[in-house]
Structures are given as structure tokens and as C-alpha cells.
């Protein structure tokens, strides 16, 4: 981001604080939990919560998670002060009036005041924020390039729809991986779509186009696509919206088409406790209910078959049990329309 020296120094401080939180505080928290749970049979995240509510390490862990993110967006040096994108994209996105769904406008997701559909700078703010969400994994396009490679192993696709594309972090690598395919990428956020279109033009990627649309009813024809994808979208939907999106994806896919969502799934009681706490601290209210949903059953109920739900590594080795740093429980959900 273009910023004065003080703002850059402040955000440098926040990234260092986040990295310390991800490594040292996270390690101390796990050790504290190991002590508190020693000799106890723990089978649910609510039991973990009962053990950890007296843990000062957990108090500080929680405080830092909340407030590093808060300081990123708000306050004297907050990203909310960033100027909006100035030049329109060479190939601008197709914008239309799309009502913001109530489930989305209910809270300021990620502690981003006004959400992604608010201020004109929301796309750039989101991009700047995403760089330090999980330093090491989200600061570049690495995670999304891995996702594109993962999808590439599932088949050669020609007509691709990316749902909830944000500022194009996945759509762009997908368009590069499937250079002969046509990629449509949709989102609710006009500022994000404008940024995505500008980035695609800058990267000279011609086969992706961006449109403003609600993933529950996109307006595309039945069977128009052979691949529908999303990354980090499912957990931002409430259960009815998620169900609608699955039915819409099924309608949009031609027979034999593939659905791939990258999102989160966690079953371990301690990690589930951490995940649900993150949901509260980061203003992601649907994260717990989407984690608890029987997604395989939901996919089958929407007409999908060959459902495969597998842990996804954002960097090599990240799903090892002894992985030393905090991470999201990235999970790939793959299904096929018969």
C-alpha cells in the first residue's frame, strides 16, 4: 500500500505481533492446554472452553487475536484511511444493482467497518488486510496458486465459475492454470470486483471476467459451466444461503461437472474451540454452524455425488500434527454432478 513511513511502521509492528501470536503465543497456549487437560477425557470444544476459561495465556491469546486485527482496520493508522482505487480497469467488471443479503450485512466481517460492500476503498483495504491474515500463507498468492494446481489435477475445464471471488485472488491463478478456459468470477462487492478487474488487466490475463452477482441466484443458464469453485466463502454464508448456493451450483453445472470449495473443517475438540473463538473474535458469525453442518449430506441432498472432503495444505507439511504455528483448518470439498 502507498503509505507514509509511520503508517508502514505501524503495520510492520502488527505483522510482527501477529507472527509472534501465531508462533510463540500459540505454542504457549497448546502447552497450557496440555497441562490443563492432562488425565481428563475431553471430547467436545465446550469441555475445552471450560478448561481454558481460567487460562491467562488464553486471555492474552484472545485479546491479541482480536486487537491486532482491530488495529489493522480502525484507528489512527487503520486501513480505513486508504484512498480508493483511482484508475478504472481496462476491462471493467459488469456491475449491477445486487441487494446486499441480510446475513451479510448483519456484522462487520473480519472487523472491517462497513464490510466489503461499504466504502469505495473496500477492495484495496481487503487486499492489504489479507496480506497479513496468516503471514507466510496469505501474504502472496501462494495458497491460491496451490488451489489452482489442486483443481488442475481434477480435470481440464473449459467453462469455470468462481463464486465469491473477492478481489480475484483465486480467479486469477485459475485463469492462468486453465489458459484455454473462460472464467467468470462473481461477487457482491463492487469495489472488490473493480480491483480484481484491474489486477487481471495488469497481469495481462485475458480469460477472466468479473460480474456482480449473488451466488444464490447468479442468472447464468442451466449447465453453463463444467467447474464451479470458491475459496473462503462457505463459512461466510449462513446455513440457508449455503444450501441455496449448493443448489445453484448444481443447476449451473453440466452433467459430469465438478464443484470445488476451499474452506474450513475441524473436528478435534481443542482446534474446534480455537476455530469457534476465532469466529467470535473476527466477526465471522456463521463459521461454527457451517463447521457443524453435515456438508457431505448437504452436497448429496443438492444432487452431488463422489463427495470428497480432504485437508488442504497451504504450505508443504502444514497438516502435520506437530506443525508449529497457528493455521486455519483449510479443507477442500470436491463433488461431482452425475
Amino acid at each position: 500500500m502507498a503509505a507514509d513511513r509511520s503508517t508502514a511502521a505501524f503495520h510492520g509492528f502488527l505483522v510482527e505481533a501477529k507472527q509472534y501470536w501465531m508462533s510463540d503465543v500459540w505454542t504457549a497456549l497448546k502447552e497450557d492446554y496440555a497441562r490443563r487437560s492432562a488425565g481428563k477425557a475431553v471430547s467436545s470444544s465446550s469441555q475445552v472452553a471450560a478448561l481454558m476459561e481460567q487460562s491467562p495465556t488464553y486471555w492474552f491469546y484472545s485479546w491479541l487475536e482480536r486487537h491486532v486485527q482491530r488495529a489493522k482496520y480502525s484507528g489512527r493508522y487503520g486501513l480505513h484511511k486508504m484512498p480508493a482505487q483511482s484508475a478504472p480497469a481496462a476491462r471493467p467488471p459488469k456491475l449491477r444493482e445486487v441487494p446486499v443479503p441480510a446475513y451479510y450485512s448483519a456484522v462487520d466481517t473480519h472487523q472491517h467497518p462497513g464490510n466489503l460492500t461499504g466504502a469505495p476503498n473496500a477492495g484495496l483495504v481487503y487486499k492489504a488486510s489479507a496480506q497479513s491474515t496468516q503471514p507466510g500463507a496469505t501474504n502472496r498468492y501462494g495458497l491460491h496458486e496451490r488451489f489452482a494446481r489442486f483443481v488442475g489435477e481434477l480435470g481440464d475445464f473449459k467453462h469455470i465459475l468462481e463464486m465469491g471471488c473477492g478481489f480475484g485472488k483465486s480467479a486469477l491463478p485459475l485463469a492462468q492454470r486453465f489458459a484455454r478456459a473462460e472464467i467468470k468470477a462473481i461477487d457482491l462487492s463492487a469495489p472488490c470486483l473493480e480491483l480484481a478487474a484491474a489486477e487481471a488487466a495488469e497481469a495481462k490475463v485475458p480469460n477472466v471476467s468479473y460480474e456482480q452477482a449473488d451466488l444464490r441466484h447468479t442468472g447464468y443458464a442451466d449447465g453453463a459451466f463444467d467447474l464451479v469453485t470458491s475459496t473462503m466463502v462457505l463459512h461466510e454464508l449462513d446455513t440457508p444461503a449455503l444450501r441455496e448456493s449448493l443448489h445453484e451450483a448444481h443447476r449451473l453445472l453440466a452433467p459430469g461437472g465438478t464443484l470445488v470449495h476451499l474452506d474450513f473443517r475441524v473436528k478435534d475438540p481443542f482446534l474446534e474451540f480455537i476455530h469457534y473463538g476465532h469466529a467470535r473474535r473476527n466477526n465471522e458469525p456463521y463459521m461454527p454452524e457451517i463447521n457443524e453442518l453435515d456438508l457431505e449430506g448437504e452436497l448429496r441432498g443438492a444432487g452431488f455425488r463422489d463427495v470428497k472432503i480432504t485437508p488442504f495444505e497451504e504450505v508443504d507439511g502444514a497438516t502435520r500434527p506437530d506443525w508449529p504455528t497457528w493455521r486455519f483448518p483449510w479443507t477442500a470439498f470436491v463433488a461431482r454432478k452425475p
Binding site: 513511513r5 509511520s6 511502521a9 505501524f10 510492520g12 509492528f13 502488527l14 488464553y58 486471555w59 492474552f60 484472545s62 485479546w63 482480536r66 486487537h67 488495529a71 484507528g75 493508522y77 467470535r280 473474535r281
Partner: protein, 99 residues
């Protein structure tokens, strides 16, 4: 701002959450200052005003060192004085007002 909501709290005493906020903001401002001082040092060196190592190797006159030591002591006493818990003005203890 309208519709202000209370921030989430994580410590048993919610005052601790707010104190953490002040401390965290101060720490961030210290880093901002550290960064600017380093930039100044580099610029002064580039412009030939102050040689590399001149700050680390600085040894002032006796008077200057004494003044800096006094300043340091005053700063630390000022910083930690609230820990003692004494009032700085007379309280109206008898009537129960402000006591």
C-alpha cells in the same frame, strides 16, 4: 458515532482489556518512533552530518551525561509513580465525596 457497541472482553476484569489496549497502542507508537529515529540516523549519515557509529559510540561531556541521567531518572519515576497508589491531591475523605 452512533450505535456504539461495547468491545469484546477476555480478561476477568474488563478494565484489563482496556489497559491492554493503551499498552498495545503505546508499544506500536514506540515502534513508529524507533523506525523514524533509524531513518533519521541513516539520513544524517548519508548527508555526512553524523558518522556511522557516532551515536553508539557517543560520550558526552560530564555535564551532558549528568543531565541525561537526571532526565532518565525523572522519566522512570514519572512512569512508575502510579504503581504506588497515592493521591496527588487532598481527598475529601470525611464527607465521602471523592474519598
Amino acid at each position: 458515532m452512533n450505535d456504539l457497541q461495547l468491545e469484546q472482553t477476555y480478561f476477568p476484569d474488563p478494565a484489563a482489556d482496556r489497559i491492554m489496549g493503551v499498552v498495545f497502542n503505546l508499544a506500536a507508537e514506540v515502534q513508529v518512533l524507533r523506525d523514524r529515529v533509524r531513518v533519521l540516523e541513516h539520513l544524517l549519515e548519508q548527508k555526512g552530518v553524523v558518522a556511522r557509529g557516532a551515536i553508539d559510540g557517543f560520550r558526552g561531556s560530564e555535564e551532558a551525561e549528568r543531565a541525561m541521567a537526571e532526565d532518565r531518572g525523572e522519566y522512570v519515576r514519572h512512569l512508575l509513580e502510579p504503581v504506588l497508589g497515592y493521591a496527588a491531591s487532598r481527598n475529601d475523605v470525611e464527607s465521602g465525596h471523592g474519598g
